[in-house]
Every structure is written in C-alpha cells, then in structure tokens.
C-alpha cells in the first residue's frame, strides 16, 4: 500500500500560509487513496508558483515552459497511456500564456488531469493582474483596475470538456476527492482550484472564499445537463460553487490513436527493415 510518506518531496519555497500548501496536501492524499505508486505518475508543470508543486512531492517530473504544460503532458500520455499524467500550472500559465492549448486539450479529450492553481493574480512576477482577476482589481500593471475576467469553467464546457470542476485550496478533503475523481475519469479532467495568494491578492482571501464557496450536491444538481452547467460555471459573487460542474462521457484522444491498440508506443520495437515494403509505392 502506498503511504503519504512515499510522496515526501523537497523543501518548499512558497510563502507561509500560501493556498498552494492545501493543494499539495490534496494531491498527495488523492494519489495515496488511489494507491498509485510514484513511478506511475508523471507530473508536468508550467512556470509560476504552481509549477513548483511537483518538486515538493514524488514522481516523474517534467517542468516545462510557461503555458506549455498541456502539449507536453498530453503527448507523454499518448506515448504511454499507462502513466497517470497530471498537469499543474497557475491561472496565468494555463489561461493566459497557454490558453490556446487549454481549449484544444479540452476539445481533444486527452486522458489526463489538469490542476489549475487559480489565485487570480501573478505571484512569481510579484503581483500583476491575471486573466481571472476580478474586474477593477488594482495592481501595478493595472492601476486603473483589471478588465473583465474569463470564466475558465464556462470555457471548459464550451469546448466540450468531459470533466469540468472547481475545488478550493481551503478544503483539502473535498479537493482530494475531486482530484481522485479527475484521475479516475476517462478523459480530460480540468480542475480549477481557488487558491488564495496571501502576498499579492488581498481581496480574494481565505476568508473571502470561505464566505462564498458552497459544495454542489449531486442529489439536486445534475452535472450532465450542459446548459445548467454553463449557468453554474458563471456563478461568481455572493455564492461560488465548488465540485463537478460538468461531466460527459466521450471517447478519449488516446482511444482514437490506432497505433496504441498494440500497447504503449514506448514498448514498440524499432525495425528499419519494415520500410522495404513501402519502396514499391514509389517505383
């Protein structure tokens, strides 16, 4: 049985009290509860404070460029579908720099889990507005206040994402459950995580979120109803829903790769002599 100690990682460089700690706890807990050994995990992370998470746990790690987690993560999964692939990045990384990759990964439905630490602000570059900053959010780069934000969950649903969810770093038990569901989901599991930034975001604090977040109860909320989910994904203000907003079963990208029917590509033998039979096409 896998233990939490198996996922012990390096010393963190996050600010004391950062929302990232709760996410780290939840990730480890999900992997342990699913009894997944570290060697089966590949974490692909971007740039930003969130991108450091893989170094604070155990597993195979590919830390890539700003915004490029999804191309690298999805390709690794295509090559070896036996890997549990988790992409990790922040709101700037995923919704700003990597926005195009995000849309298309949703559309193609790669069987990976994507955790977005959404603190509505840029931390690593010291406090500029992000694509999810609330309107009017004043920073050094937006002294007049931030413009309109994007709604990542609504985007996810619009792109026909097969698992669109929101968690809260202040509720690690609930978040761990979401991450577990995401890993178990066959397809692209997008989990936007409300992550208070204790240094640069003095608006969207732990207390601010605690007053507003509420858990979706699947006994009275149907996450397979696309239009209802679309509405729920844009609920942001006095009340902010967390949980699985939208879910849909559909074919994964890996299921549509003919070469994978014979097993992971990483185990296929290389045999140059096979090319001989192609020569006649050109004769």
């Amino acid at each position: 049985m896998v233990k939490v100690a198996d996922y012990a990682g390096g010393t963190t460089a996050w600010c004391p009290g950062c929302g990232n700690f709760g996410i780290l706890v939840a990730v480890k807990r999900a992997l342990v509860e699913l009894d997944i050994e570290p060697y089966r995990v590949l974490m692909v992370s971007g740039i930003g404070q969130a991108g450091k998470l893989p170094h604070y746990t155990k597993g195979n790690v590919l830390n890539v460029l700003h915004g490029r987690t999804l191309p690298a993560a999805t390709a690794a999964k295509m090559v070896n579908p036996e890997l549990v692939v988790i992409a990790v990045g922040g709101d700037g990384d995923g919704y700003g720099e990597g926005g195009n990759h995000f849309l298309h990964a949703l559309r193609r439905n790669h069987d990976i889990t994507y955790l977005v630490h959404n603190n509505q602000v840029y931390g690593l570059t010291k406090g500029q507005a992000s694509p999810t900053s609330d309107p009017g959010f004043v920073t050094k780069s937006t002294p007049q206040g931030a413009s309109a934000p994007i709604y990542p969950l609504a985007l996810g649903i619009a792109a026909d994402g097969s698992f669109v969810a929101r968690g809260f770093a202040g509720d690690t038990e609930h978040l761990a459950g979401l991450i577990k569901s995401g890993i178990q989901h066959k397809g692209f599991a997008h989990i936007d995580i409300l992550q208070p930034c204790v240094t640069y975001n003095h608006k969207n604090t732990f207390a601010w979120y605690r007053e507003r977040v509420y858990k979706l109860d699947e006994s009275n909320y149907d996450p397979t109803n696309k239009m209802a989910a679309f509405e729920k994904a844009q609920e942001w203000g006095a009340k902010i829903p967390i949980g699985v907003i939208y879910r849909k079963q559909r074919a994964t990208f890996e299921e549509q790769i003919p070469a994978l029917t014979k097993g992971p590509l990483v185990r296929q033998k290389i045999d140059p002599s096979q090319v001989e039979r192609l020569f006649k096409e050109f004769g």
Binding site: N63, A76, M78, L278, F282
Partner: protein, 570 residues
C-alpha cells in the same frame, strides 16, 4: 545522349502536378534518371503553375530552364514560357481553346479537349490526353505509359478512361506530327529506381529510424511529411497529431520524447519561429527532438510556395541561451533519407535538438534514386538504459555529470524516477540557483558539442584538383552547382565545388583543409546575404571573393550558375 526537359503548364486545378508526376514515373520506369520539380502559386484554383520533368541516361539533380517540350494547358503557359524553348523545342497546345498564339513554327496543335471527350467521354481528362501526346511525340513506350496510368488511377472505369485518353493523345501525335522531334526516348533499363521527393525521403527515413511520434501543424513545404506518416500510422505504430499550433507541436514532441520514444516535428520558417522556445527547452532538459525546417522565401509569409535558404543562421542560433544542437542540411533526396536517420541518432545520443534544414526546392522536387539499403541503417539510442542496465546502475540521476556530458536516460517505465526542469537544475533534475551548480551543468551540456563535432561529415568536394575558382554551397543547391562545375570543366575552366550538408557544429577543420590553397572562393546560395560564407569566415577565417546569390524564390539551374561564374571570371 538523351537529355530532355518537359514542362507542363496550366492553372491550379488542371491536373498539372498529377500528369507531371505520372510522366516522371513513366520515364523512370523505362530506366531513365529523372528530376522533376513543381512551381505553383499559393492558391487552390487558377493562377499559373508548372511541373518540369527532366530525363537523362545519367544522373541529374537539378532543374534546367531550357525546355524541349512545353505542354501548355492554357494560353498563359505559352505566353510565359515560350521564351524558354530550346532550339527545335515544341509546344503542344489545344488550338480549339487557346487562340491568338501567333504563327511560331514551334507550336503543334492537338485537340486535347475534343480527344478527351471522344476517348474518355470526360473533358477532365484533357491533361491525360496531353500526357499521351507528349510521350507520342517522344516515341516512348506505350505499354509503360498505360501501366503507370493504371497503377495511378486504378483498374476501374477511371483508370480505363485515363488509359484511353492517353492513347488518344499518343495516336493523334503519331498520325499528325509530320516534322522531326529531335528527342526520341526508348526505354533503356529495368526502371527499378524510385521517384522520390525530399519530403517523402524524410518520411521514409523517420519510419526507418523508428520515429513513434510526430506532431506538426500544416505548413508548406513540409506538410507532405506529416501526411505520409499519418497514412502509415497504423501500419508503423506511430502517433501522428495535428495540434493547435507549432508551439504545441514542438512541446508535444518534447513530452513524447521525455516519455521515451523517438519524436519529430516538421515546419517551415514561420512555424519554426514559434518553436524556438521549445528548442531551448529541449536543450535545457536534454530531451532529444528532431525538427525538420523546410525553408521557404521569407521573412513573414514571404513567398509561401517558393524556395530559399534564408534560415541557416537562424537555425544555428535560434533560442535564447546556449546549448548544443546539430544542424544537418540534406543536399539530395538520398541525403534526406540518410540524414533523417542520422538526426534521430544524434538527437538521442546527445540528448539535444537536431534540426534537419531543407527547403521548398528539395522538399517538393523528385529524383530517381536506388532503393535504400536498409541493412545499412543503424539505430543508436545512445545511453538509453534497459531495465537491467538501470538496475545495475544503482542510483539514477537524470542529469548526472559525466565526462562526455551525456547522462544515462531511461523511459518512464519504473525502476527510477525521472525528474527534469526548464529552470537550471542539479543532477537529480531539481531546480537550483547557486552559481557552482549552474556552472557545472552548463559545462556538462556544452561538453556534448565536443562529441557532436566528431559526428559531422566532411564537406563534399567535386571538380578540378587544382582549382582557380572554388564554388561553396550547402544543402539543396548541390545538384545545380555540381552540374555547373561539370559544364565549366567542359569549357576549360578549373573549377571545383566544396559543399556542406552537415553544418553545425561547423566542421571548421575539415572545411579549412579542403579550402587550403583555394585561390578564389565564390559562395553560391539561395539567399541575399551569403549566410554560409559568413559562417565560414567566423569559423575558419576564410573570406569569400565573390557571391552568386538568388533570392527570387526560384531554384538555381546549372546554366544560371555558369553564366554568373563566367561574369565573375571576366
């Protein structure tokens, strides 16, 4: 000696490329050496396009601008290309359709549309009638023509109609052409050679090298590589993905390679611009990737369907920071196959990006080549460890500091964890900021250049042993410059060619050796600034005395180089 140059001209959509390619195959099947190239505008319909097919008993690897037979499917083809006709050259055209062409004795009218309608009940087969007429004029073997058409269009009704259309064109010419066409082509051999484009050779090379993952965004001129690999995806266990953009493509290739398979992408200059950050990531994380850069005329969108060698220095220096890389520049279709395999071997052995730089000319021109001897293909995966080797190793560090700079690598299959970072990192792959580790890791990575340097081939040398003039070239210009040197030697000029097809790390010593005593070096490049000449100066101190440059989007011909050369001599 037979040396004939056909040109088929018409609008996009008239089947110029289709019959041009069939013509090339028909001639190759009869034992001829063939070189064919296509010229088209960036549009789906209309405009002007042409396809040239050159055939000889001897090897030919370049275009000729002197046309022996022009098959004009529209009037524009006559207007634009009549001046390129050789003495006794002939123009085949449809006088029912193309009017006011003047009374030039080179013109020979064939009712292409009418014959298509009569023979195949289909005016769309006008181009096939024209093909038959062209081969009738050259008195070529009819059976080979029918065979190749059947293979191309199938044994069904479409195939039969095309065979009939070709026969109608052939017979019409036989019955009505009363003059003497100077070029008679009779089959001369068994025709076992392949008619292969640079793009196709790269795709075959990738399959032979065991490429298992390809991600590419469509871009002229390299799109056919992706399309060919996609058509073989199931058969050859390769995943071929068309992602949202070139940034995704290169980062996918990095992810796939990190997971343990040989991976590649292909693009042109504009897409390569977007991939630049990924090159640096591959360099930093020591991930093997192969990037095909098929140059076209830039900057920006430039001339999208036309050739240039404007990206050499860009390929060598692309991305911020310093890291090892190799840049290979195939000179021929054969090179395109073998250097693709070498690119995969070097990438994996040195765990770094390798750029295979071609151009529109090489990518989409066709040459007859012998079938590749696959027993000569070597697969060198470098320090990629098996599970047993890993177990013996004990502790595993992805970026272990070694004398060669190369660290053992493993696929993500258990046994050890693999960690790497785009930030500077320690041997374990975790990010660091201290000066000592940074320096050690930079030195480790850059040491790989020393090994890579030893892998780079010497320049090819051809021509006079005591040259008065040395032509210096790289990549796809090889065929044209070589032919120009042969013509110059025939004219009594002491000229030789020094040609590079593996350019980075720059083979400085070997190049300096072959240039020793060179009296006058003239750079021949398909660009405006003589980029190889610049590299030569930087790496060897040799300075060129002249330049023959061309940056109009069109390839060199031997005749053009020779005339420029003669001006330099004068």
């Amino acid at each position: 000696m037979v040396n004939i140059n056909f040109m088929i001209g018409g609008e996009a959509g008239q089947g110029v490329q289709a019959i041009g390619h069939v013509l090339g195959k028909v001639l190759a099947r009869g034992g001829y050496q063939v070189f064919a190239d296509e010229d088209y505008e960036s549009r789906v319909r209309g405009g002007h396009s042409f396809f040239r097919v050159r055939a000889s008993e001897d090897e030919i690897r370049a275009i000729s601008e002197s046309v022996d037979m022009l098959v004009a499917l529209d009037k524009e083809s006559i207007d634009l290309h009549q001046k390129e006709l050789a003495d006794q050259g002939i123009v085949i055209f449809d006088a029912d359709k193309v009017k006011n062409v003047g009374g030039n004795s080179n013109l020979f009218a064939v009712p292409l549309d009418r014959l298509a309608q009569e023979s195949a009940k289909n005016k769309l087969m006008t181009n096939t009638v024209a093909l038959g007429a062209a081969l009738g004029l050259a008195s070529y073997d009819r059976q080979i023509l029918s065979n190749v058409i059947s293979e191309r269009f199938g044994a069904g009704d479409v195939g039969k109609a095309n065979v009939a259309a070709a026969a109608a064109g052939y017979d019409y010419v036989k019955a009505n052409f009363k003059r003497d066409f100077s070029h008679k082509l009779t089959p001369i051999g068994d025709g076992k050679r392949m008619l292969l484009s640079g793009n196709e050779a790269i795709a075959l090379g990738a399959l032979a090298a065991g490429c298992k993952f390809m991600a590419a965004y469509p871009m002229t001129p390299t799109t056919p590589i992706m399309e060919y690999l996609a058509s073989k995806a199931k058969d050859f266990d390769i995943a071929v993905v068309q992602p949202e953009d070139e940034i995704a493509a290169v980062n996918m290739v990095i992810g796939a390679s990190f997971a343990g398979v040989r991976s590649m992408t292909a693009t042109s200059g504009g897409g390569f611009c977007l991939m630049v950050e990924g090159l640096g990531l591959a360099g930093m994380t020591e991930t093997p990737i192969v990037v095909v850069l098929g140059q076209r005329a830039g900057p920006a969108i430039g001339l999208p369907t036309r050739t240039e060698q404007g990206d050499l220095e860009f390929a060598i220096h692309a991305a911020h920071g310093e890291f090892p890389r190799a840049v290979l520049a195939p000179a021929t279709v054969e090179d395109a196959f073998w250097l693709t395999i070498k690119a995969f071997n070097l990438a994996e052995k040195y765990q770094t990006p390798v750029i295979l730089i071609t151009d529109q000319y090489l990518a989409s021109s066709y040459a007859t080549v012998e079938r590749f001897d696959l027993s000569k293909v070597t697969i060198d995966r470098g320090l990629l460890l098996s599970k047993e080797e890993l177990a013996k190793l004990g502790e595993y560090k992805r970026h272990k500091i070694t004398e060669s700079g190369i660290s053992p690598s493993i696929p993500l299959e258990g046994g050890a964890l693999v960690v790497t970072d785009s930030d500077e990192h320690n041997e374990e792959g975790h990010l660091i900021e201290d000066a000592e580790t940074r320096t050690a890791m930079m030195l480790k990575r850059m040491r790989k250049m020393e090994g890579l340097m030893k892998e780079i081939a010497r320049p090819r040398v051809y021509g006079a042993t005591q040259p008065e003039i040395t032509l210096l070239g790289w990549g796809s210009t090889y065929g044209a410059i070589k032919e120009a040197v042969a013509l110059a030697l025939r004219d009594g000029l002491a000229v030789n060619l020094v040609h590079l097809n593996e350019i980075w790390p720059f083979p400085a010593e070997a190049t300096a050796r072959v240039l020793q005593g060179a009296k006058k070096i003239i750079a021949v490049e398909n660009n405006a600034t003589a980029q190889l000449a610049h590299l030569l100066r930087a790496e060897t101190g040799y300075q060129i005395a002249g330049k023959i440059l061309k940056f109009d989007g069109r390839p060199f011909s031997a005749a053009h180089i020779l005339s420029q050369l003669k001006q330099e001599v004068r």
